[in-house]
């Protein structure tokens, strides 16, 4: 990270369609389960990968907190509470440290935006709740996490669509590395809705609702027809290394490299040279040779152009020697949550010594060939892993995490 301080991960929490703990998520992934079902009217009947929005689940959050939360913030708060518990840090300790957070999402809360527009456009704006803004503000996931954990430090919310989560991790790591923060809760969250999935569908980048929907998201496959939107959240406790060691914290791993860039002219098209540069820069920032990476958790969303561009970039930087898989065949594309959520799965893979394959990758697209695709459960010791997230607007972000520090 080229900073003054080392940055480690000392707590982890998730809220996903395939599990509410990283262990449960891993079990479902290892069993090859898919979260994808047919969406309702709100998803234009497209395939979707919903997480539970059962209000009973969220009742552990006091009403005074919950009243300002849409599903995206509830997912975040649930994941954040789990991460805080897992970190072993008490609320008093967090207050004394002025702990902060960085959490982003694609657009706050699409379900709340829709409710608001419906009222305003039908001449009923006097029925808008004063909570409306707090539920759909672009930084709703971040400040609601801070309120839930009682954080009194800095609140950041990088909103960069599908890179929001990984950019939040990178931001938190950079602030700790620079000596500005000691503890930051970082992650991403999102909720599905046709405002997002419909946008992909308009660009012919969303998988259609046809055939076995569990096979509709097929990263790197010759038969892929687009992505499937999912939802959920993941939050990690990032902590300055010496502080974590002094208090005897359990350490998941160290964030040793992070980089983010753009192609300079990106809208929806991925830019393989820019992705390759981002990945190479991340290795440089970590002082780690590409060949030393044990596993790449790809962004690969199952779009025609995006998967091919990422595969080309991996081929250029890593060659064919590093195992690669995408979890979006199982989870769909959880958008702003995807980077941290998939990282949580990788920590479990490392714990079990097993790589999860890309689901539905029966026939590798020749445009995605030339890299080491994981197509079935594979035993592998992960000491260092690489995570990619990319987003509309030409945004690329990559992170390297070293385990057993």
């Amino acid at each position: 990270m080229n900073g003054l301080k080392r940055v480690v991960i000392t707590g982890s929490g998730i809220y996903s369609a395939l599990g509410f703990t990283p262990g449960e998520l891993f079990d479902n992934l290892a069993a090859g389960r898919s979260a994808i079902v047919r969406g309702g009217e709100e998803e234009d009947f497209l395939p979707t990968a919903p997480a539970s929005r059962d209000p009973e689940r969220f009742r552990v959050l006091p009403r005074t907190l919950r009243r300002a939360m849409a599903p995206s913030a509830c997912f975040t708060a649930m994941a954040g509470l789990a991460a805080m518990r897992d970190s072993g840090l008490s609320q008093d300790e967090l207050l004394a440290l002025n702990a902060g957070c960085a959490v982003g999402s694609t657009m706050g809360s699409v379900s709340t935006l829709r409710e608001g527009y419906s009222l305003v456009l039908s001449g009923q704006s006097d029925r808008l709740s004063p909570m409306h803004f707090f539920k759909c503000a672009s930084h709703t996931t971040a400040f609601n996490l801070a309120r839930t954990l009682g954080l009194n430090g800095a609140i950041y919310s990088p909103c960069s669509a599908c890179a929001s989560g990984l950019q939040s991790m990178g931001l938190g790591a950079a602030l700790i590395s620079a000596g500005q923060e000691t503890v930051m809760f970082c992650g991403g969250a999102d909720e599905t809705g046709s405002e997002v999935s419909g946008s992909f569908a308009l660009m012919y980048a969303h998988a259609p609702a046809e055939g076995d929907l569990a096979e509709s998201s097929r990263p790197f496959s010759a038969h892929r027809k687009g992505l499937v939107c999912g939802e959920g959240a993941a939050v990690f406790c990032l902590e300055e290394y010496d502080h974590a060691v002094r208090r005897g914290a359990k350490i998941y791993g160290e964030i040793v490299g992070y980089s983010s860039n753009s192609g300079g002219n990106g809208l929806s098209q991925s830019d393989a040279p820019a992705i390759a540069r981002c990945m190479a820069d991340t290795c440089t920032s970590a002082g780690i040779a590409p060949a030393d990476i044990d596993y790449i958790s790809a962004h690969a969303t199952s779009t025609l152009q995006g998967d091919a561009a990422e595969a080309a970039a991996i081929r250029e930087v890593f060659g064919s020697g590093v195992p690669v898989s995408s979890l979006k065949g199982h989870l769909g594309h959880t958008l702003g949550a995807s980077g941290p959520l998939e990282m949580a799965a990788v920590f479990e893979m490392a714990r079990h010594g097993i790589l999860i394959p890309t689901r539905n990758l029966d026939e590798i697209d020749p445009a995605c060939a030339g890299i080491d695709h994981v197509t079935e459960l594979r035993e592998k010791r992960i000491r260092i892993f690489f995570k990619n997230s990319f987003a509309f607007g030409g945004i690329n972000a990559s992170l390297i995490c070293k385990l057993n520090v």
Partner: protein, 106 residues
């Protein structure tokens, strides 16, 4: 809106139980919203929006409702003002319909 006091109490308490998740046992007329029931000004706006919808009236510009302190104040307010509030809502509706039926101005 043409309700008995019991019906008003049922509607208001229903909103407090369902929307604010309060215990029905706590809902006595002398309870203050802020100190006793633990609500705040944003909750009060939400509560009034729910009651507007329920009663088909508008409270947005009403100064008296902003002064309520206890649950009993709210029951009294609706009992005393329901005829006026209903007339206001009907007048507003008629005005909106009249405006809609006007040809657009050049």
């Amino acid at each position: 809106m043409n309700l008995t006091r019991d019906e008003i109490i049922e509607a208001v308490n229903g909103a407090l139980v369902n929307e604010m998740e309060l215990d029905p046992a706590d809902l006595a007329p002398d309870k203050t919203f802020f100190e006793d029931l633990g609500l705040d000004s944003l909750d009060m706006v939400d509560l009034m929006i729910g009651l507007q919808r329920k009663f088909g009236i508008s409270l947005r510009e009403n100064e008296e409702i902003k002064q309520v302190r206890t649950l009993g104040d709210v029951y009294d307010f609706f009992e005393k003002n329901q005829a006026m509030l209903t007339a206001q809502a009907e007048a507003a509706k008629a005005a909106a319909q009249a405006a809609q039926s006007q040809p657009p101005k050049e």
